[in-house]
Amino acid sequence: MDYLNAIVALTNFVLIPATAYGAQLALGALGVTLIYGILRFSNFAHGDTMAFGTMATIGATVVLQSWGVSFGPLPTALLALPFGIAATIGLVLLTDAGVYRFYRTQKAAPVIFVIVSMGVMFIMNGLVRILIGPDDRRFADGERFIISAREFKEMTGLREGLALKTTQGITIVVAVLVVAMLFYFLNRTRTGKSMRAYSDNEDLALLSGINPERVVMVTWMIVATLATIAGVLYGLDKSFKPFTYFQLLLPIFASAVVGGLGNPLGAIFGGFLIAYSEVLITYAWKKVLVYTLPDALEPTGLVQLLSTDYKFAVSFALLVIVLLFKPTGLFKGKSV
């Protein structure tokens, strides 16, 4: 019986990766949910907005690195982030002026917006591939680990290693900061309040003198910022590949829907729920049980609830169950 090793193994293979992944999903889902809440459509171009933001950040990172600028032990990409955000804000505002505004003035049905956003998705998809290419790209520099598995083993003398990557640490810290700032903005500032008012009741908001175009602009700017941060954090932690960002759309939407589309708190909760359920339900408990159970009870099999093939089935089954019982999501989002 060795509880310490069991806890370390569980932390290393479940808690840390799932928390970092959950934070990345939550930031992505926040962007989706804001668009849904305020502009009232599901933005399928979100994954590719993330890819564009990350690409712009990578570009700025390369320029910074060529000037010899670095951020000490932290990745240079963090310094380049503002440039990436600015570029992405420019792109989404252009898209809005060129595409979405046309449909907004026509008061088009949400389903038209969804299809339009798919068109935007394909164009951004192509744009990113033309500019940076379809290849896998790693742009994390600086110190790779806060603590690596080998160091941890030497330090503690335990059999199990515990690795905490710098990027995982950064992901969690940045996600907390961004979420805190977003909630402060939405709940405490005048612009944030007018956004919520517009989201709750468009006509009433117009009557009380809120400028809708301004609300839309600010929303896009926040969404572009969130998308870029989420994309860069994900890219730092894993790697940047346009195709994967496109695929990220699924878990992100699952997170936003489970939490309740249009509800920021729900998006965060949904992100972590999806990440944890993917990892926990398919985890093979053998290692942990070998440490915790007496020898006689030691498992011979893998003690795996579901094989990892069913990872995505888990998150979508969760989605279906939640929608069956709470059609607007766990945190009562806007009705569909």
Partner: protein, 397 residues
Amino acid sequence: MKKLLMATALTAVTATTAFAGGHGKEVKLGIILGFTGPLESLAQQMAGGAEAAIEEVTASGMLLDAAKVTGVRADSTCIDAAAATAAAERLVTSDKVDGIMGADCSGVTGAILSNVALANGTVMISPSATSPGLSTAEDNGLFFRTAPSDARQGVVMTDVLLEEGINEVALTYTNNDYGKGLADAFQTAFEAAGGTVTISAAHEDGKADYSAEVGALASAGGDRLVVAGYVDQGGSGIVRAALDSGAFDTFHFPDGMISDALVENFGSEIDGSTGQNPGTDSPGAMKYAELIGDKFNPTSPFSAESYDAAALIMLAMQAADSKDPSDYKDHVMDVANAPGIEIFPGELGKALELIKAGEEIDYVGASAVELIGPGESAGNYRQITFEGGELKVVKYR
């Protein structure tokens, strides 16, 4: 306008007569590879290989009646059977190709074979589809491959690992025909030889996060992690997550993982890992490298096999004295195997001349082609290892 119409009509008539004649002045080869998708970093070098063979034959002016051979590229996507079928359909019905070099991945190759090649009677030679399932697929003698079946690779992998003194491994594979086929072949061979596979877990390609897979693999344990995946896809994601979490230090990589990208991605982090991919120390590989020069990397996986696949189609045409697939399909095995004069890369012109003179040839090519059983390569592998952040060839088997 009238003139233009006339001209178009005339051209169309001439073109039709040419096709009807069988001995056209033009031979078209479809090159269907995954230019986008999980194998996109290999596809360019593979297409380059096939096109090198095509250029060589055209330049020699020896094929049929000094026919000009052109390659028509199409995208198999590697994973999307519907898209690959549509692309192949286009090659056959609209571009009217006389044979297909491809496809690359096993799943789409099977789909194209059953939906397009069989229905239209087109010969297909795949340079890289290695699923054991294709050995028994119904093909009416139209399907060949210059790549070996993975049943053979499973045995080679077992030998490599056991010689390294490793008899307990965890296994993960990409969830498709290639991955599943190879994983099963390996597991059977490894367990028959007394080894233990602690877990055999699938992973999906192109997904956001692989911590769940790595968690399960680490829990099952093993001396080495066998990654039967794609280097441009989930395979690298798994390796990255396994290294970062300290779950595994060394890996074993089958052919889908071995590429320059693997070394670029991981460098010295995967020192001590092993792997194997189709390859040979026959002089053909060297001659192929000389022939290609700096145009692209000729040692890229399946590039040599692609050259050979395209060459075999054209040599078989010459042997049958026809570009009709139903005529030349029976000659593919003849030109590929002994007896006859050995033919290496760069000697296609000579080979065509010999065939015309009625001599037998034994096409060795860039990858030491030897077709066995249902028309697949017998299989030569190179065993590799990683040292100091570089890929080193240990030996050939």
